[in-house]
Symmetry: C2
Subunit: 146 residues, 2 copies
DNA sequence: CGGGGATACTTGCATAAACAAGCTTATGGG
DNA sequence: CCCATAAGCTTGTTTATGCAAGTATCCCCG
């Protein structure tokens, strides 16, 4: 009980949510300030497409840990921004295949530069072993709640 | 550069955002399943009011790290759910004072029970020292980006 | 080969955040 | 005493998530 309360007093949820929000906000701001018209969540989809173009929406959902409605609407937004195209599957009319546009391919480098820069900013003063431990805890939390 | 890439490869942002999302989702679900009609973000405002009733919206914003528009709309939702009341400040008509309703006072215990339970679920298998390190890293990230 | 269930996706509705812009009320300097 | 400015809050728009429900297509089993 004592130990329990000690854990609670540290307000894991608040500190976790705050750090996450700050990091995502900074990523979004750094993208924007460098004329990269994309959000972090869209960037996460781009990462998958740079690895393998022509995925279905369901595959993207599974790979990014998003649900299908989220992917559907993110893709709508990304099409508006001319990052990707949605093409019907040649054999299965239920399915769409998502492809990068030229612009979507071209911004990869610049996005990674900003991504790297922002992660470095965030991790100033954090040692490699502290980061390892932190990531391990985050993964445990995720696994416990999955 | 090598060290830098090592850090990046660990995708801090993804793991941070995922753990955060899972924890908040679980909190929201556990509240709901126990007939507590409140969200985690609203709960964070309640915590402040249990400590000190009759705060202004600006004070709540400052104390919870939210912006004023967010607080304004969260408070609208909380009034609909009969958790709090918004009363005009007796001397400054620009200002509102926010007070707990009876219901808002009464659910404090039950909310903390669920909050505690969920945090314990999340932290299964995490040692006290690992948690300390993780929280320290999260705070550093927040501070670096503030 | 036809119908029912599964699959892939979309839409609707609620919550919440970020940011800009608007409105009302206070207040201090001239 | 009045006006410009500041303070406190609200509204509008965009982005994203969660969950429920709807639509279209496919496919297998009897």
């Amino acid at each position: 009980m004592q130990d329990e309360n000690r854990l609670i007093a540290q307000s894991l949820s608040y500190r976790l949510a705050t750090a996450s929000r700050f990091l995502i906000n900074r990523l979004n701001r750094n993208f924007k300030e460098n004329d990269l018209s994309i959000t972090y969540e869209q960037f996460r989809i781009m990462i998958r497409l740079w690895k393998e173009d022509g995925l279905t929406q369901g595959q993207i959902a599974a790979l990014t840990g998003k649900d299908e409605p989220s992917v559907s609407r993110l893709i709508n937004n990304m099409i508006k921004r001319n990052l990707i195209k949605r093409l019907p599957h040649p054999e299965d009319r239920r399915t769409n295949l998502i492809f990068l546009t030229e612009e979507g391919k071209n911004i990869q480098h610049d996005l990674y530069v900003q991504y790297r820069k922002t992660t470095e900013e965030a991790l100033q003063g954090v040692s490699a072993s502290e980061l390892d431990t932190c990531l391990k805890v985050l993964d445990t939390v995720t696994k416990n709640l999955a």
